[in-house]
Point group: C2
Chain length 149, copies 2
DNA sequence: AATAATTCCAAGCGGATCAGTAGGATTTAT
DNA sequence: ATAAATCCTACTGATCCGCTTGGAATTATT
């Protein structure tokens, strides 16, 4: 029931990107440095975010990535689904139609449970947007700077 | 973000157990047969449920397992935690105190997200109890029997 | 035009975890 | 005494995770 590093690192990365994109495209190397992530691995995560049309890339020197939508229009759910592929708790909920090859889908008692879990997770991640995380990030950053020690 | 087969099979198993315990202890072999599970594997799952004091075992011939509490007092959360060990979405939420060894816990922006996901999953699984699933199972069973074909 | 900075792409790889097997020891109803 | 059951531990094959490697393509800067 754990989120993989794709989701964990990737969300941190896109928040970092959102916070730092004022001065133009944000490079993988700068995100990796600030967030202590492997550049090569992060590259693969950005590729997923791009494929999901959450970010846009600028190639060549001084290139990098920019958000493709306003932060208030990108939900954590969008980001996690782009990174993890499918965040349903069991396979039979995720795939439409074939129900994950489960032969007893219509008599399956526990399916009710998995659906409820799935709904509650979706409700949560679909209603947290990047702008909220950005604001929180800015506050924490200033806390850091104002630290008396 | 997937539940392992421990949680999936185990919940099915304990519901099966609850439905069939009227005539005395329910054996692993009978659960395995009804639910199409490996006996040896199921044995390991029952061992976890026993360690968590959700079921009680009766050894020897005609032995098996019985629920240790009333079905309305066993939540799906109890069962899943017994089987999966820890159903928090990321490690830093689960372990008290040390926060999973994360050095930047107090400045971590995404932690807010993981906490919200964790709360919503817990809210869901802690409020579904076995008696609900038992009733549903009985209904589906009778549907099956009444099937015209 | 050359260089350096960058994204893009595909393949490989060690380690961990999962799902299940195997084999036997112990308990107990019949 | 036997058979039916739980109990316990160790092993194993497969899969996935997290990450690395190596290079090709693009483009701003000099």
């Amino acid at each position: 029931m754990k989120l993989s590093t794709k989701g964990r690192y990737g969300l941190r990365a896109i928040v970092d990107l959102a916070v730092n994109q004022q001065q133009g495209p944000v490079s993988i190397s700068s995100i990796a440095a600030r967030q202590s992530l492997s550049e090569n691995y992060l590259e693969q995560l950005m590729s997923r975010l791009k494929k999901a049309e959450l970010v846009r890339s600028v190639r060549g020197a001084q290139g990098g990535y920019v958000l493709q939508r306003d932060p208030e229009k990108i939900s954590v759910g969008d980001v996690l689904r782009a990174l993890e592929g499918d965040i349903t708790p069991v396979a039979c909920i995720g795939i439409d139609g074939m129900e994950g090859g489960c032969s007893s889908a219509h008599t399956c008692v526990t399916k009710y449970v998995w659906q409820r879990i799935n709904e509650s997770v979706n409700d949560t991640v679909n209603h947290i947007f990047l702008d909220t995380l950005i604001h929180e990030s800015r506050e924490k950053q200033s806390e850091k700077i104002e630290c008396p020690i």
